[in-house]
Amino acid sequence: MNKVKTPDDLKKLREDLQGKIKLRESGGHPESIVQVRVAMATCGIASGAKEVMTFFMEELEKRGIDAMVTQTGCMSYCYAEPTVEVTLPGKSPLVFGFVNNRKADEIIEKYIKNGELVDGIIPVTYHTITEKQQEV
Amino acid sequence: MNKIKITIDNKPIEVDPGTSLLKAADTVGIKIPTLCYLHLEDLNIENKPGGCRICVVEVAGRRNLAPACATQCLDGMIVRTNTMRVLNARKTVMELILSDHPFDCLICAKSGQCDLQKLAQDLGIREIHYKGEQSHYKEDRSPSIIRDMDKCILCRRCEMMCNDFQTVGALSGINRGFMAVVATAFEQDLVKSPCTYCGQCVAVCPTGALTEVDHTNQIIRLLANPKKTVIVQTAPAVRAALGEEFGLEPGTLVTGKLVSALKQLGFDYVFDTDFAADLTIMEEGTELLKRLTNYLNGDKEESLPILTSCCPAWVNFFEEYFPELNDIPSTARSPQQMFGAIAKTYFADKIGVDRKDLVVVSIMPCLAKKYECQRDEFKVDGNPDVDFSLSTRELAALIKQANIDFLTLPDDDFDSPMGESTGAGVIFGTTGGVIEAAVRTAYELYTGKKLEKIGFEELRGMAGIRQATLDFDGLPINIGIAHGLGNARELLESIKAGTCSFHAIEIMACPGGCIGGGGQPLHHGNSQVIVARQKAIYQEDASKPIRKSHENPYIKKLYDEFLGSPLSEKSHHLLHTRYFDRSKTKVIIKKEQE
């Protein structure tokens, strides 16, 4: 990878990256994609987040859904681990709690495929300082 | 520098910046009690962990009490040392310390000399409100030192002496919380550690946790045994310190009373280790001259400097840490061991007593001597040349037990022949003394000229490492002196690194030399005591009619009648020794199975 040599380099890099993310998230764009983030902090992993992440990766591929499955840190809902955030193109992200393989299957079939809500959504209970807000 | 103005107990004080509250209070007669704190000012030794919390005082504006030892005066500070809050805190902390301390004061070796006991008395502790579980550790008995860590209050003084001052590293704080204590690696016995038995841990221990192995009972029994001839030798530093045990001012010489007391105790002959010190000079001085001559003649095999070898803790130290230098120190035995070897041969023959029935006792300022006399190379068929070594403190205890009123004793003289000595023998008791004694003789032997000025002021003092270049009639001789094993290590490292070169080096393990030995009356943190003893030693030297070892007529006679000459075969056999590598790692490594 290229070194970031000046503040302008950094700014340009940031804008590039943000642009790509926007494209991924915007509905209808050819580069848009379903994004699944699995909270993989210690608590999450201990509650089975790894298995859930594997399930998502394998099943989404098997079921022919173009999706990006990534890990992320603690979403702070420790009582509801494992937690998974799903962002459909053009939509606000949704967080699901207590996700096991069965729940993951339901999320894929109902929410990811049809946009139907399923039980276990965790409403957002906080403000953040970044522009990206999720709203149910 | 601008003075700082503070108020302690309503007394205004001006002090230099950097002064601690403890020292500042002291200047106006306010003695804040301490326990873990130790400052041997003249020796640059300080222990200030701030751990015991006895010296806490109230500083206006601060949330918590402050330890006076570790708190620096700041301008405008208002300090109270005796408020209700301070007194309650101090007493409570003291009660806590006592609650984890055995209550066996009456039979404790340290009773009457114990800082903790005195403090409990001063603070008026009459009850312990917080009794509970006490910490217990395995007792450890080595040839010299007993460690009863149940009595440890974690002042860390021993750890500081062992590591910072001596760099021996036998001790460390271990565990944590309630079971924290100072111990050896793996809590093994001292004998399995790199301990040199210098006894400086004992010298600074405020409680009975560290004491010397007590041999007084064996001595009482032997003195009562009519079949045994019991003779005693007393080291030079003992006479400059023993008086302190009987309330005399530090630095009071009590040579005559010492001899009287020993005779009254029933020793058959009372001799002087100074005699053997003169003998040591003959052997070591001759060895120095021989090695110096070889070296100057270009003998590649010969290496300098020569290192003194009369300090047994130092011998243990270099065997452990500098085994590669084992051929550098003089092979001469220490005066204690030379005395023993001569006593059990020459003198035993003279009085017609079998060596098995002749008991040699030494009175030493030292605890390592207890270990030294048990070394195998100083035994003949299992019979040691020196049977028992008592510390100055043990002798005082013995005198008290024998109902002897030390202060009213008349002066007496050492017995002949091994009680006759010179001023050179006396100064063995202080740092710089052995090398000065050696130089007095070596100069005259080397140059064939008479010394104009016998005292070598340039070799004296209390600095940890000293060096001087002496003029041997045109030949410059570089002398190095170190006391304290940390200083010795520094000097040796610089020799190994080639950054300095000496012809001869004197090393003593204890601060100030033997006068500050681990077996001396306790200084209780006052280094002036050691300085006073040093003065006394030089005073005794100056008062001696003969001040050069080679002029001691009885030494001459010993060579004439028995040894022949210095470094003769007989001398080698009786007066010299060899050193062992004690550094080897003890790890067993298993070869891989194929």
């Binding site: 380099d9 809500l117 | 701030g50 919380g177 924290a180």
Partner: protein, 597 residues
């Protein structure tokens, strides 16, 4: 696309569940089915909305209408009025206490959003192993701005003005700390990140390191720039393997991008970071102990002064801040000191992350503005007490803190208020206790911890805490005396007053605060020899209620010491001389026949 036109979200958080939210959901489903709307309107049970005091909570989408305190019988109204007629049910709407107006939810719905994420802003949003995701969310932008636009003095000025105080417990002004380190002259300086999170029950630092390691790296670099240090050290618990891995990865990525190393962003500023591992010693959270530990020594604290900012790691000026403190730095730089200081209370600015745990429904990390009340945190964000039990106490500040009660619930949380109420902020542990928790045992638990973790260097902490623990132990065993309480108090005060470091200076707080707030409970132990919470085994007596016992023999079979005798189908009895009070019989009995007193 979803076949549903509308969704009715019913909170299924534990708090709402206990107020019958599941019955409500069922009622809504039945009502929808009866009206033939099941194909168009869906009922979704969700996690906690963080508004449990007002539960059960219902949110109707897409118009985003919140209903509170909804009972199962309200299902009919919601469906007939809101779903069918499109009219909001006024009496179920939330009333804003400030304006006394009904919040109908069409505007910004944030009455349930007590939290504000500054330190946790990226946790759960980025892949911590991809620096690009951090950069996309403004990672290293603050560093870039600092290096190009500001002098170290200016940056320190911003941090000072922001009012940020150390989040590790002490609450010392971060800007002032930086300033002191920056003004000391030295050939080498260090900045250290204290990641030896040790308070039992606090895990926010771990979460930040696992979720957003770059923010720590960036902030340390800014700190280095300000103080004149080119070397940073992270002292991290070895028990946090995942955090270590992610931090290592992040450091390597930052190096590859040139955001660590020589001449960062062409500014001429050099900075790099190394890791040092803790090895399980709570006291190493104290900065002098931490520094000794980093130097390879026993982690024993030393007297301050000298402060680490003057004489720290290897004797060089060293600035130590904790993870959460660092995580606040980049936003302060980017959004300004005024923005930050507009959040919080007069003397405590910004937010604080709490690790909410214990007998609370929504265990988790909570980041709230300073000044939020304990009630809001526990009962709204935290969803109230588990299993519908009664709130008894909340412990803040870990072993250094105290136990607060009902009467403290409405105090705005900040450094000074917590200290004034006998507790402290600490690193942000917040453990909720209910009626089943014995406060004497809780105090004993904390002392157990302190005794275990005291380094042993100073006598009051080494021996005093042991004695406190022993006295508490005797009390819980029924051997206490009324004057033990005076002894506890005096000893606690002396330990606080005389100990060498913060550990001992605060370790008696759990004892003092419980003594003050739960005096009656202590008295019950030492006068009546009873444990009101029923937790102290030795004070309990198990008996069998003849009225309920059916003689099933289950208790006799489960008793590990054979203390229960009785024939089948006859009333059993417990031999008190043998009973070890293990409680096995109580758990086994299906007929409520085992009584505890």
């Amino acid at each position: 696309m979803s076949k549903y036109k509308m969704n009715i979200l019913v909170c299924g958080g534990t708090g709402c569940k206990s107020s019958a939210s599941d019955l409500l959901a069922a009622a809504l489903r039945t009502e929808l089915a009866e009206r033939g709307l099941s194909g168009e309107v869906q009922v979704v049970v969700t996690g906690c909305f963080g508004f449990c005091e007002q539960g059960p909570v219902v949110n109707v989408l897409p118009d985003n209408t919140f209903y509170i305190k909804v009972k199962p019988e309200d299902a009919v109204t919601i469906v007939s009025e809101h779903i069918i007629k499109g009219r909001k049910v006024q009496n179920l709407l939330y009333t804003d206490p400030a304006t006394q107006t009904k919040v109908d939810g069409s505007g910004a719905i944030d009455f349930n959003k007590k939290q504000l994420r500054i330190a946790l802003r990226n946790c759960g949003f980025i892949d911590p192993e991809k620096i690009e995701e951090a950069i996309a969310r403004d990672g290293y932008a603050a560093l870039a701005r600092v290096l190009t636009e500001s002098s170290p003095e200016e940056v320190i000025g911003i941090i000072k003005k922001s009012g940020l105080r150390g989040r590790g417990g002490g609450g010392f002004s971060t800007g002032l700390k930086w300033e002191i380190t920056s003004t000391v002259e030295a050939d080498q300086k260090y900045v250290v990140c204290n990641a030896d999170e040790g308070d039992p029950g606090a895990f926010m630092d771990r979460s930040i390191l696992e979720g957003d390691p770059h923010t720590v790296i960036e902030a340390m670099a800014i700190n280095g720039y300000c103080t004149g240090a080119d070397k940073g050290l992270v002292y991290i618990r070895a028990e946090y393997p995942l955090a270590i891995e992610r931090l290592k990865t992040a450091i390597n990525q930052a190096r590859e991008y040139g955001l660590l190393g020589k001449d960062i962003l062409g500014s001429g500023f050099n900075f790099d970071i190394e890791l040092r591992y803790g090895a399980g010693a709570f006291v190493c959270g104290e900065e002098t102990a931490l520094i000794h530990s980093m130097e390879g020594n026993r982690g024993e604290p030393t007297f301050k002064p000298p402060f680490p900012s003057e004489e720290g790691y290897l004797g060089k000026p060293t600035n130590v801040n904790n993870v959460e403190t660092y995580a606040n730095i980049p936003p302060i730089i980017l959004k300004g000191a005024d923005w930050f200081s507009s959040i919080g209370t007069e003397k405590s600015k910004g937010t604080k992350v709490f690790a909410l745990a214990g007998k609370v429904n929504n265990v988790g990390l909570v980041e709230v503005p300073m000044g939020t009340t304990l009630r809001e945190v526990i009962f709204e964000i935290g969803g109230g007490i588990k299993d519908g039990k009664k709130f008894k106490s909340v412990q803040t500040g870990g072993p250094s803190g105290g136990c607060l009660t009902e009467k403290h619930l409405d105090i705005p949380i900040d450094y000074d208020n917590l200290i004034a109420s006998g507790s402290m902020m600490g690193s942000g542990g917040m453990i909720v206790m209910d009626e089943d928790d014995c406060m004497v045992s809780v105090a004993k638990y904390y002392l157990d911890f302190t005794v275990e973790e005291s380094c042993g260097k100073c006598s009051p902490c080494r021996i005093g805490n042991k004695r406190l623990h022993e006295i508490l132990d005797e009390i819980t065993k029924g051997n206490g005396k009324p004057d033990d309480l005076d002894r506890l108090r005096n000893l606690s005060e002396v330990i606080k007053d005389t100990s060498l470091c913060g550990l001992g200076q605060s370790s008696p707080n759990p004892v003092l605060s419980t003594l003050e707030h739960f005096h009656d409970e202590y008295m019950a132990h030492v006068v009546d020899f009873k444990c009101p919470a029923g937790q102290c085994r030795d004070l309990m007596i198990y008996t069998i209620d003849a009225a309920n016992c059916v003689g099933c023999t289950a208790c006799a079979r489960v008793c590990p010491v054979g203390a229960i005798a009785g024939e089948r189908k006859e009333v059993h009895s417990i031999d008190q001389t043998i009973c070890i009070k293990c409680g096995a019989c109580l758990e086994k009995c299906k007929f409520n026949a085992v009584l505890v007193s």
